[in-house]
């Protein structure tokens, strides 16, 4: 048996009634003024990972987030037992406290840009010079779009992480930590921006648990 970790919240957080990733019941383990949302599951690797399991993980974290500030755990974090969970909470107490204060009252909103033509490959050119110039234009376009996203959305965010180069599959990702009271305004601004990003399509999703803003020190 293992213990699957979903999120860390402040002590007093109540486990939601929904099921966990492997349809197991959820409960909390408390130590050091913190509460970990966990479920008891068979040993690691017993169940194949499915998309449904991923969504159940997400739902469990979101159900807790509906009532409390949370630090979402990465999908698939397994610990040996409750004692190891308590040791984790005690050992990283300061990092968890600081990270909880940072995300308090906020959610993550994602903004991604993609080009109608896959920019990850400049395509076969007739000349080497044309190939390098196409690469250069592609890089500059990514930086320009990242700049527009930053100018429009950073002022509405507590923190923004914006990539400045095309990622795998030719999308440019950014994540924004937005206070709940500003999500509507953020969404409006993103909509305006989506009408004005030239050849790139913009998509804005959320609200999500603050996966990108848990902080390196708090990351399990």
């Amino acid at each position: 048996m293992s213990v699957r970790l979903y999120a860390v919240a402040r002590a007093g957080a109540v486990a939601p009634t929904c099921a966990g990733a492997e349809t197991e019941p959820l409960r909390t383990v408390t130590a050091a003024g913190l509460a970990a949302l966990v479920g008891t599951v068979p040993a690691a690797g017993a169940e194949p990972v499915t998309e449904e399991g991923l969504w159940r993980h997400e739902q469990a974290v979101e159900a807790l987030m509906a009532e409390h500030d949370v630090l979402p755990a990465r999908f698939g974090a397994l610990l040996e037992g409750d004692e190891e969970v308590r040791a984790l909470l005690r050992g990283r107490r300061e990092a968890f406290d600081a990270a909880l204060a940072h995300v308090s009252g906020a959610v993550e909103v994602g903004v991604r840009a993609a080009l109608a033509e896959d920019p990850s490959e400049p395509g076969a050119s007739e000349s080497g010079t044309a190939y390098l110039l196409a690469l250069k234009r592609r890089d500059e376009l990514a930086r320009a779009i990242a700049g527009r996203i930053a100018a429009a959305l950073r002022p509405l965010s507590r923190e923004s992480r914006i990539e400045e180069a095309w990622g795998p599959g030719g999308t440019l990702a950014s994540a924004h930590l937005v206070g709940r009271e500003r999500v509507a305004e953020f969404r409006q601004r993103a909509e305006q921006l989506a009408r004005d990003t030239g050849p790139a399509q913009l998509v804005c999703t959320g609200p999500w648990p603050p996966y990108s803003f848990v902080g390196a020190e708090a990351r399990a």
Partner: protein, 116 residues
């Protein structure tokens, strides 16, 4: 309650651009998380190709910088460009051969972020 579609806040008049990404994510999930013995050889190929891809991209960036600095003459730019174009095509062939996507040729370095 939670479905990919219900989380759309703004934009995305052409979601198919991002739909590919989701398909790749699904395939990657099966490939990366549900590993078995058969995939060991593939895992090694993936690691080797990741390192080659990293070097290729670093060298490409280096060439771009030198081109911008003007330290390459026209003939050198053309020759380098051809080499990188050929490398990029060869890389695509290798990815196809081993059934790998761009995402697979990346390493998560924890607090340092992604390799590429």
């Amino acid at each position: 309650m939670s479905s990919a579609q219900s989380r759309l806040l703004a934009g995305g008049s052409d979601l198919s651009l991002f739909g590919d990404e989701l398909d790749r994510l699904r395939a990657g999930l099966r490939r990366r998380v549900n590993a078995d013995g058969e995939s060991l050889e593939q895992g090694l190929a993936q690691l080797v190709l990741t390192l080659i891809e990293l070097l290729r991209q670093l060298m490409e960036r280096q060439a771009l910088h030198r081109m911008e600095d003007g330290t390459l003459d026209e003939e050198e730019v053309e020759r380098l460009g051809r080499v990188f174009m050929a490398l990029s095509e060869r890389m695509d062939e290798l990815k196809d051969e081993f059934g790998l996507e761009d995402e697979d040729l990346n390493l998560n370095l924890g607090p340092l972020g992604n390799l590429m």
